[in-house]
């Protein structure tokens, strides 16, 4: 008997048959014959494995790849991709687990890792980041070619606007609208800036993109340059990211050599040049006007706004500032269209989000999933649960300027709209998961220490406010606080939110607000009982007045 190299199993339970399993078998057989594979591949049947939403189901061995639902018209594609070309037909792979929300399609991973939907991180970790050819093989610079040869600048902007992409740096501003503002701004000279000054504590998603897929950013910036009428761009990368800097530098040289950057790109009259600029260690430079000041060779102190960078940015010219993750979505949207992008995520927050998970969990790292999944799902599925003996106490979302949420909010869908409604910030996508051994007062003290250290000192509400807030919380953590301190903290926070010049000062008090909103009893225990319920804070003996 001839040995077969592969086997296709098709589910033939009544439900699958009703959905066309027999016709599917017929079409698979025909496709095998068409590719002359009938001697190498055998078709057999299998029972429904209990996933009724993805029938009919097809499993291909030896890889044990599960496809579903497979329609009759998919048969030829599946045979061509998997059995003829020998690569998994990713579009047809079945989701291994149904997640909440309207989350589109999830790609299955073999083995241990749960499914992700990778758009931003599509190539990161899969291609050699220093090899331009590998990037091109994986659809690289295709979007740029398409934009330059088939689309007008207006059409590019329209596509981005229709896709519903929102800024992934934290604020969630509609990207298409920002592009339109810069396009409409008066002036011959315009700039495109990529904000790669990723320094929100707990965030390292942009680093993964820059280190793993640097050409994506160059491609996206060049597309933006074409759409907005700019011929020059800057990548502002934080000084600590040495490897990412070298990879980008190498990528720029390669792209220039191959004509994807520089003059007459793709033999058109469009020119675009990219400069690489490093920061030197200042969190506040992630704020777009501080970043612009820093590029101009000044202290990174945020400007008063308005005017906004879209009209008065770098060297006072109209300037687009987009975050790395935002830009990394652009080529895929141009290639596949706005509608495709909208098939991921929720109607109000389309697309995916890259999260960094850390804290008292079994898996720390980066994941990319559709907008709208819940924190509980992230913890249980992607973080592989809390560490043994740990119980979820709280989570911090979005880095230091994000929100602290109690365990009771873990079923809120993570998308811009749902979070906004719950008064929570999605921020940069950092998810710090904390167990019962975390003291809220201690955590907030650490956050305020960060803000008072990173405050640039330009405006008084932030410079003095962060310092005073730290001192008060420090006192509380030592058992020397007073109940009146809590009122002072609240009014101090409100003033900072109203009067501070930039986002740093405006959000520095958010941890305090969240602490008193969700964990007031625990804070009061420090004051009333002079003890830390979690046993973390070191209490000083009571000061005796002479």
């Amino acid at each position: 008997m001839q040995t077969k190299r592969a086997m296709i199993l098709v589910s033939n339970d009544p439900e699958s048959v009703r959905l066309g399993a027999n016709e599917l078998i017929q079409h698979l057989t025909e496709a095998l014959t068409a590719y002359d594979l009938q001697g190498e591949v055998e078709i057999s049947t299998l029972a429904n494995i209990g996933t009724s939403n993805i029938l009919p189901l097809v499993v291909v061995y030896p890889e044990a790849t599960v496809y579903g639902p497979v329609k009759v018209e998919d048969a030829r594609f599946l045979v061509e991709e998997h059995l003829y070309k020998g690569r998994i037909a990713t579009d047809l792979v079945a989701p291994p687990k149904q997640l909440s929300g309207n989350i589109g399609w999830l790609r299955a991973h073999k083995g241990y890792n749960p499914a992700e939907q990778r758009i931003v991180l599509e190539r990161a970790g899969r291609i050699d980041p220093e090899n331009l050819e590998e990037f091109i093989t994986e659809n690289g610079y295709q979007a740029l070619g398409k934009a330059l040869s088939e689309m007008t600048p207006e059409q590019v902007i329209e596509t981005i606007e229709k896709s519903g992409l929102q800024g992934r740096g934290g604020a969630g501003f509609p990207t298409g609208r920002k592009w339109k503002f810069v396009r409409m701004a008066k002036g011959e000279k315009k700039y495109i800036i990529c904000n790669a000054d990723e320094s929100e504590p707990g965030t390292f998603k942009d680093r993964i993109v820059l280190e793993g897929d640097p050409h994506t950013i160059l491609e996206a910036m060049t597309i933006a340059g074409y759409a907005l009428g700019a011929d020059e761009g800057y990548i502002y990368i934080r000084g600590e990211y040495g490897l990412a800097y070298r990879r980008l530098q190498h990528a720029i040289e390669q792209a220039e050599e191959f004509g994807f950057l520089g003059n007459n790109i793709f033999n058109t009259d469009f020119n675009f040049h990219i400069h690489l600029h490093t920061g030197a260690g200042a969190y506040v430079c992630g704020e777009e006007t501080a970043l612009i000041e820093s590029i101009e060779g000044k202290r990174g102190e945020p400007r008063a706004r308005p005017p906004y960078p879209v009209t008065h940015g770098l060297w006072n010219k109209p300037t687009l500032v987009n975050n790395v993750e935002t830009l990394a979505n652009i080529p895929a949207i141009i290639r596949n269209g706005a509608e495709w992008y909208r098939s991921f995520g929720t109607p109000s927050s389309p697309g995916t989000k890259v999260y960094t998970i850390m804290g008292n969990v079994n898996f720390s790292g980066v994941i990319e999933v559709p907008m709208g999944i819940t924190l509980r799902e992230v913890i249980n599925i992607y973080a592989k649960g809390l560490k043994p003996g740990s119980v979820l106490r709280l989570a911090q979302t979005g880095g230091s300027s994000g929100s602290i949420i109690p365990a009771s909010l873990q079923d809120t869908p993570m998308d811009f709209e749902s979070f906004r409604k719950a008064g929570v910030s999605l921020g940069s996508g950092a998810l710090l998961i904390c167990d019962q051994n975390t003291c809220i007062v201690d955590l907030v003290k650490v956050l305020l220490q960060f803000f008072r250290f990173e405050s640039c000192g330009k405006c008084t509400p932030c410079r003095v406010g962060t310092q005073r807030a730290y001192e008060i919380v420090d006192r509380i953590s030592k058992g020397q606080g007073k109940l009146e301190d809590l009122d002072v903290l609240i009014s101090l926070g409100q003033e900072m939110e109203r009067a501070a010049n930039c986002g740093l000062g405006q959000t520095a008090a958010v941890p305090i607000r969240d602490m008193l909103k969700h964990f007031r009893t625990e804070v009061e225990a420090h004051i009333r009982l002079g003890s830390c319920p979690a046993g973390i804070c070191e209490m000083l003996p009571e000061v005796e007045l002479a």
Binding site: I295, G359, G365, V446
Partner: protein, 165 residues
């Protein structure tokens, strides 16, 4: 008379940095970073030298010494004070803190007998805290010069420090 070594070096290092990054306003921070990297910090003579070389008539970048000092004191990776041969940076932010960072920091301070920002008498070590380095999947994190140590626990500190001359 031959100028003291330090002076000649500084002048050459500044010149090299300016040539590499260009005599432009937007190159100021890269130039200062380059000098900081070469000397370990930015001495007062270096500010003077940058000012002199950049303000030369053909360059047209008019910058004062105080502006340069203002830059160096603003950015965390630039130092205006001499530092030890090895600089230890410890991340003090929340992601490292909640997985045992405090104990690692205490252990570092004790092993080196230094507080935050101090340099040891023998000029071997400088100990500083830093904000998030973006290495949170392996927290707590300690960075010594360019060497990264992740998932550090207090018991490893002595062994890590012994690796440095």
């Amino acid at each position: 008379m031959i100028a003291p070594t330090i002076e000649r070096d500084v002048s050459a290092i500044v010149q090299e940095a300016i040539e590499k990054h260009g005599a432009k306003r937007d190159a100021l921070i890269p130039i200062l970073s380059e000098i900081n990297h070469a000397l370990g910090y930015i001495p007062a003579e270096a500010f003077q030298e940058v000012r002199k070389q950049l303000n030369a008539e053909q360059e047209h970048v008019y910058v004062s010494k105080s502006q340069l000092f203002g830059l160096a004191s603003f950015y965390d990776m630039l130092s205006t004070n001499p530092r030890g041969r090895h600089v230890i940076k410890f991340c003090e932010n929340a992601p490292c803190h909640v997985v045992g960072g405090k104990a690692v920091w205490d252990s570092l301070c004790e092993a080196l007998d230094l507080n935050n920002g101090e340099t040891s008498a023998d000029k071997k070590w400088t100990l500083v805290t830093t904000s998030c380095l973006g290495l949170c999947s392996v927290s707590p994190v300690v960075l010594i010069d360019d060497d990264l140590y992740g998932n550090v626990n207090p018991d490893q500190i002595d062994e890590i420090l012994e690796r440095y001359e």
